[in-house]
C-alpha cells in the first residue's frame, strides 16, 4: 500500500503520540514496565538509585522492569501537571504528606489498602509515619523515610573552648554568646540555594519553644497560631537572627557552604536535618570526624528535654491511571528487603531510612557510619514511643507552610512584627483547615 504525502503528514503526530505512550508498556523481553520519577539527587545519590534500586530490582525478578528518571527540583510541579493530564509515572513520589494531601484528595493516587493487606504493610511500618498518609480511613502512600532536625556541632571546637552540649535555652545562648565573642559563628546557616532552610529553623523554634503539645493543638485547630507560646517562639527566632547567631550571611550562603563552616571550625553548631548525613563533603562518616550530633535541646519551659521532630521527607504512592499497579507494589516490597535497606543506607545515608519495624536500626551497624547509626536508632526509638515534635514540611498545609517560609524573613528583617506574621499564618491555616488541606496528624502514642 502506498501512502500519500498528506497521509504521511497526518500519521506523524499519531506515531509521535504512540511512541510516547508509557502506559502498560512492555520491555523487549516482555516484562511490564514500571515508571518512577525521582526529584533531586546528587551524583552519589544517582549512582545509588541506579545500582541499589533500579538494577537490583530488575535483577531480582523477571516480571517487571523498573525505569527511573531523575527529574530535579521541579519534580513536584511536573508531577501535578502530569497526573492531571493522566500521564504521570506509575510510582508517584511526593516530597511528604503536605504535598500528598492535594493529590490524594483529588483522587489522583490509588488507595493502597489491598496491597497493604497482601504485604502486611500496616503491621510492618511505624504507625506514626504510616498514619501521615491515611485520608478518610484509606492508606494512600508509604513513607519513604523518616527525618528529624538535629543539633550538629563541632566537638573539637567545643572541647577546645570548654563548652558542653547545651541542654536548654540558657546554655545554648551562653555558648552562642561565647562563640560570637571569639569571632566564631554560633550556628552555620544559609538559605541561598533553598529557602526551605527557614522552615527547618522554624520547626525547631515552634516545637522546642512552644512545645509539641501546643503545636499539635494548633494543627488540630484547638489553639490559634497567635497564642503566646508561638509568639515567644517567633520572637526568639527574631532575637537570635538579630543577635547574629546565624551569622551575617544567612541569605548569601548555600546549605553546603554554611554546614562546612561548622566542619571547618568557623561556626560552632548547625540546626539541620538527618539528610545532612548524605553529603559526603561533610566527612561525618569518617572515623576522625570533628562532628557530633544530638537531638535539639529544649528552648522553652514547655519542653522538658531534648526533642526530635517527626518528619516524612517523601511518600510513595501508585498513580490512579497506572496500568501496572502490581508492578509498582512489587517495587515497594523490594524496597522493604534487608538487602536494599542496607545497600541504600550505605551508599546514600539519610535518604531512604524506611520506618519499618522489621528493619531495625541495628541493621545499619555494619555500614561504618557511627553518627548516622546512633541518630537513626534514637529516631526509631523516639518515634516508636510517640515522643516527637512536628515538622512544618510534613504537617503544615501548603499555603500556610509557604507563608511560614517566606514571611519569617520579613520578621527577621524587621519588615513586619511577630504578631502580624502569626496573624497572617493563622488566617491562612484557618482557610486551609476549612478546605480539608491539613495533613493528618498521627495518634500521640505509637
Amino acid at each position: 500500500m502506498t501512502m500519500t504525502r498528506r497521509q504521511l503528514v497526518a500519521a506523524i503526530p499519531t506515531a509521535a503520540l504512540a511512541a510516547n505512550l508509557p502506559r502498560g508498556a512492555r520491555a523487549e523481553d516482555g516484562r511490564k514496565v514500571v515508571t518512577f520519577w525521582f526529584g533531586q539527587a546528587n551524583s552519589d545519590g544517582q549512582a545509588a538509585l541506579r545500582n541499589d534500586l533500579v538494577e537490583a530490582f530488575n535483577a531480582s525478578q523477571d516480571k517487571y522492569l523498573l525505569q527511573m528518571e531523575v527529574k530535579g527540583a521541579a519534580v513536584n510541579n511536573l508531577l501535578k501537571v502530569a497526573l492531571v493530564a493522566g500521564n504521570g509515572p506509575d510510582i508517584v513520589q511526593t516530597a511528604g504528606p503536605a504535598y500528598l494531601t492535594a493529590i490524594a484528595n483529588a483522587g489522583q493516587v490509588l488507595p493502597l489498602d489491598d496491597f497493604a493487606e497482601k504485604y502486611k504493610w500496616k503491621d510492618r511500618f511505624l504507625a506514626p509515619l504510616l498514619n501521615t498518609s491515611v485520608y478518610g480511613g484509606k492508606l494512600y502512600a508509604l513513607p519513604r523515610d523518616y527525618e528529624s532536625m538535629h543539633l550538629f556541632y563541632n566537638k573539637e571546637l567545643f572541647k577546645q573552648n570548654g563548652w558542653k552540649l547545651p541542654s536548654n535555652r540558657q546554655e545554648m545562648e551562653q555558648i552562642a554568646d561565647a562563640a560570637i565573642a571569639k569571632g566564631i559563628i554560633p550556628f552555620g546557616a544559609g538559605n541561598a540555594d533553598w529557602k526551605g532552610v527557614n522552615e527547618w529553623l522554624m520547626t525547631v523554634f515552634f516545637n522546642n519553644v512552644a512545645g509539641p503539645d501546643n503545636v499539635r493543638k494548633a494543627l488540630s485547630g484547638e489553639l490559634p497560631w497567635t497564642a503566646p507560646p508561638f509568639v515567644e517562639a517567633v520572637e526568639l527566632s527574631k532575637a537570635w537572627y538579630n543577635k547574629g547567631y546565624f551569622g551575617k550571611n544567612y541569605f548569601s550562603l548555600t546549605i553546603e557552604q554554611s554546614f562546612l563552616q561548622v566542619v571547618n571550625g568557623k561556626a560552632a553548631m548547625a540546626l539541620s536535618g538527618t539528610w545532612s548525613f548524605g553529603t559526603k563533603s561533610y566527612g561525618m562518616s569518617k572515623p576522625d570526624t570533628v562532628m557530633d550530633v544530638a537531638p535539639t535541646p529544649s528552648l522553652g519551659s514547655a519542653v522538658s528535654g531534648p526533642l526530635v521532630h517527626l518528619a516524612c521527607g517523601a511518600t510513595l504512592s501508585i498513580a490512579k491511571t497506572s496500568q501496572n499497579a502490581e508492578g509498582a507494589a512489587a517495587v515497594f516490597e523490594f524496597m522493604l528487603t534487608r538487602k536494599f535497606y542496607e545497600a541504600m543506607n550505605r551508599d546514600w545515608p539519610g535518604k531512604w531510612a524506611l520506618p519499618v519495624k522489621d528493619l531495625p536500626p541495628e541493621m545499619l551497624s555494619g555500614i561504618g557510619y557511627p553518627l548516622f547509626e546512633k541518630t537513626i536508632a534514637n529516631l526509631h526509638e523516639a518515634f516508636s514511643k510517640g515522643q516527637y515534635g512536628f515538622t512544618t514540611w510534613t504537617f503544615w498545609p501548603g499555603a500556610t507552610n509557604s507563608y511560614l517560609i517566606e514571611g519569617i524573613e520579613q520578621v527577621w528583617l524587621n519588615k513586619i512584627t511577630p504578631d502580624a506574621y502569626l496573624t497572617r499564618l493563622q488566617t491562612l491555616f484557618s482557610q486551609e483547615a476549612k478546605e480539608g488541606k491539613v495533613p493528618p496528624l498521627p495518634p500521640r502514642t505509637a
Partner: protein, 282 residues
Amino acid sequence: MWLFALPALLINVCIILVPAVLTFTAAFFIWDGVGTPVWAGLTNFQNMVADPVFWSALTNNFIWTAIFLTVPVCLALVMAAALLMAPKARIVVQSIIFLPRIIAVAVTGRIFQGMIFSPATGIVAWLNEHGFSISDPLADPDRSLYAVAAVDIWHWWGFLAVVFLAAMRQISVDQIEAARLDGAGFFALFRYVLLPGISPTLTLMLILTVIWSFQVFEFIFIVTRGGPAYGSEVLATFAYRHAFFEGDVGHAAAAACVMSLFGLCATAVYLRLQITDDAQST
C-alpha cells in the same frame, strides 16, 4: 490568503489563545492544580488586592520597567552611536557586548550569585578581605531588586546596542555627512540625526521593554526567588509561588491577568502609534 495563514493561526490558537483563555477562566475558580475547580467569582481578585505582597510585587514591576526603559537603553544608544562612528572596532566590540546574551540565563545568574555577589566565594568576599566593607546586595531586601536588575542589564544591553546599531546603519550616510559638514559634534549628531532616524526601532524596543518588564521571571527566580522578605518579588514570581508552592492556581491566574493587562496596554499604545504614523505618511 486565509489558507496561507492557517498553519500559523492554528499554532497561535493552540499554544497562545487556548492557554490564555484557560488562565483567564482559572482566575475565577479556586483550584489547587490537581483537584476539581470550584467557581469563586471575584474572590481571587479580592484576595489578591488585599495581599500587601501583591502591591509590593506590582511596585517592583514598575521599578523594573523604569530601570529597563532608561539604563540599558541609554547605554545601548551611546554604544551604538560610538560603534557607528568607529567601524573598525565594530565587529570585535559587537561580539564582546553581545556575548552575555547568548549565555544561558541560569549560568549568568549563578555567575553573579556565586562569583560576584557572594560574601564567601565572590568578588564581594575578596573586597571584604582587602579592607572594603561590602555586603551582598542580594541579601538585602531593599537592594536585591536592583542587584538582580544589574545582572539582567549586563545580559540585555549588548543586544539592544546591536539592534540600535543595525537601525542607525539604515540612516542615509549623506544625512550624517551633511550634519558633520554643518559642524555637528557627536551629541548634536546623536540628538538631531541618529535618534530621529531610529525612532521607529526605539519606540518598538521601548514598548517591548514595558511588556517584557511585566513578565520578568527567570533572573529573579534563579538569583533571589523573589526574596529576601519579598524584596525582589515581582508579579511573575508571585504567580509562580501561588501556583506551585501554595497550590492556589486561581490566585496565580489572577496575578497573571494583571501582568497581561499591562502588556495589553503597551501593545495598544504601540498600535495607536503605528496607526498615527501610517495616517501621517499617507
